[in-house]
Amino acid sequence: MKRNEVENCLLCNSPIDVPVTWKTLLTNEFPRTICLECEEKFEICKTSNEEVTSLYKYNEQMKDYLHRYKFMHDLLLAKVFRYQLHYHLKKTKELIVPIPMHAEKRKERTFAHVDELLNEAVIPYTHLLEKMTTATQASKSREERLNTPQIFQLEQGVIVQQKDILLVDDIYTTGTTINHAKQLLLDAGAKSVKAFTLIRG
């Protein structure tokens, strides 16, 4: 990752000209990818609890970001939060486990959006889960979401006994996805399961 890797803001395309200071030199590893104005439009999320930590609120700016990244498939935007994700996850002692996509869905999107966020942030992770259904949570009603049977299964041959696990997903809304994964892992003998998401909906 070089300096000047990105010259124009990945979101608004205006030139990024941040003066070089000692601080920017020290954080050389993750040069800026969006301009200050775009960054200010993201809102920090302050309501986190013991179980789930989230970094940002789901405001207009985040809605637009997620649309462009996940649905317009602008994979380059995985870089936007790399510094923040790295900063929050680098000292994690738990095993980091991304919420997986169904294989078919992944082919359709051509990338796994949670994995790519972590890749850009240089955070190592392990896949333990497999998604069994192609239906997305967003397409279901609240009632349906609460009553769906388990949507994940353990990947073949994984052992989770006595492990402390941190699930990572892009967005936390009703908590159904996280709860399904958590229940499965606890039933399989995991010691603790917490969650971390980029966004709280």
Binding site: E7, M72, F111, A112
Partner: protein, 475 residues
């Protein structure tokens, strides 16, 4: 044309597939991503199998330069700016693929995307087009209209240089009618969505027998084959080899002037050898150079249709306006100017160089009159706010350069704050000045450039307006 139709019809019998008119009408002249059409995938695949489409890869790469580095080209938008291509591990192909960020708003194109071009029978153009317009031309308009029609007929490219308020849309009518009735497909393109939205109802009204499509971001679906297409230059990414005549309105507007891919899009959308016409009040040096180099024909209208001279901007120093507004104080001269508009009940526009400064200013202006509003490019209610000003529901609007062209408001008075700012180029300032005095009942009005130091661009704009008035009125 006839020969082609017969040949295609033969092939269509031979292939034994019935070509649906909807499919034919939609795809004629278009370049589309295979997996994202308005038709069922199996249907599209069947047509492809029967060779009704040419298929090409979304992105091609070629070794370039002495080091033979891979250089990518997007086959939809013709972008070749290398840093706008992103290589990634594609989960679909399980190898490294590339996508183009330049045209990603229209749905992503990757190296593993198929782009399809219609290759089957062409739509029948049997309609008798009529022009239902009872307006009259000024002698200058009439001459320009004739010259343009002649150029298009002789497949010669053309520049119409007409001052703001010369009535340039009407000048297009005869050329469009002539081409349509020759069975040609015509496109009127412009960089600005606002201009498409303004032109659409006007063309629908005067060409009542013509199926016209208006294309812009998020435009509704429109049925049938349209022989006359009104489109943003952006949407032309989705056409290839489609038009026999192309007219580009406001060709000097942002972002067309700086976006090479957009300029390419305009060229690739027309058929080879098809003529192109630019219509503008402020031709850029680049356009003027092309006109000279390629020997285009040229029409010039220095006068407004109502035969009154263009209002000439006056310069007023407004020292340290930015500091003042930031501290919560509008400079006195600007207060006085606004108060005068309010007491005279004259609608007004005040242009600002940045959204930030405008947003600092709006609460201060609302203390003078709470109904004053502001607009900028991303404002969802942009259209409604302009209509409110036109209907005199609000006294005035603060705006960024987004309203520099395309809008007409009777008796509007205009101020530019910070006219020395970079964003106010001479052509922007000429366009802004062109908002004033457009209506025959109010042919005059105030146009003032408030500044913190006079720039060459300001001088150039004023001198050009004086020159045009001299050309038009010889005084």
């Amino acid at each position: 044309m006839k020969f082609k139709l017969i040949r295609s019809n033969k092939r269509f019998l031979y292939k034994g597939i019935i070509v649906e008119p909807q499919v034919r009408d939609f795809f004629t002249g278009r370049i589309w991503t295979r997996s994202n059409t308005p038709f069922h995938q199996e249907k599209v695949n069947a047509y492809i199998q029967q060779n009704y489409f040419n298929v090409k890869s979304g992105i091609t790469s070629q070794p370039k330069g002495i080091f033979l580095r891979q250089s990518f080209t997007c086959n939809r938008c013709y972008n070749q700016i290398q840093h706008e291509f992103v290589q990634y591990n594609c989960a679909k192909c399980e190898k490294i693929c590339v996508y183009c960020r330049h045209c990603i708003n229209m749905g992503r194109v990757t190296s593993c995307t198929n782009l399809i071009l219609w290759n089957g029978p062409l739509p029948l153009k049997y309609q008798k087009h009529v022009l239902d317009w009872d307006g009259t031309y000024t002698p200058a308009q009439k001459q320009a209209a004739q010259e343009l029609t002649e150029s298009m007929n002789n497949k010669r490219s053309h520049l119409v240089h007409a001052v703001c308020g010369a009535g340039k849309t009407e000048i297009l009518f005869p050329a469009v009618l002539h081409a349509l009735n020759k069975g040609l497909r015509v496109c009127i393109a412009t960089p600005r969505t606002d201009v498409v939205l303004e032109l659409f109802p006007r063309f629908q009204k005067v060409f009542p027998n013509t199926n016209i499509h208006a294309l812009y971001g998020n435009a509704p679906k429109q049925a049938g084959f349209s022989q006359l297409v009104l489109s943003t230059t952006h949407q032309l990414f989705r056409f290839e080899n489609a038009f026999d005549v192309e007219l580009v309105d406001e060709a000097d507007a942002f972002p067309y002037t700086i976006d090479l891919a957009l300029q390419q899009a305009v060229l690739k959308a027309k058929k080879e050898g098809a003529p192109i016409a630019f219509v503008t009040a402020t031709p850029s040096t680049q356009i003027l150079n092309t006109v000279k180099k390629e020997n285009w024909s040229y029409s010039f209208i220095p006068k407004r249709y109502h035969n009154h001279p263009l209002p000439v901007p006056r310069f007023e120093a407004l020292w340290s306006y930015e500091k003042g507004i930031t501290r919560g104080k509008i400079p006195l001269k600007l207060i006085e100017w606004t108060e005068k508009r309010l007491s005279n009940r004259e609608p007004f526009l005040i242009f600002f160089p940045t959204i930030q400064l405008m947003q600092k200013a709006i609460p201060l202006f609302q203390r003078m009159n709470e109904k004053i509003l502001s607009v900028h490019a991303e404002d969802e209610h942009r259209k409604e706010k302009v209509i409110k000003l036109r209907n005199e529901e609000i006294p005035g609007l603060l705006t960024t350069t987004i309203l520099e062209r395309g809008i007409t408001i009777n008796n509007v008075q205009v101020a530019v704050v910070g006219a020395e700012s970079k964003i106010f180029t001479s052509s922007a300032l000429i366009q802004i000045s062109g908002r004033v005095g457009r209506n025959v009942q109010f042919p005059e009005g105030d146009i003032v450039f408030f500044h913190h130091g006079i720039t060459a661009e300001m001088d150039e704009a004023r001198n050009e307006i004086l020159r045009l008035n001299k050309e038009g009125f010889g005084s």
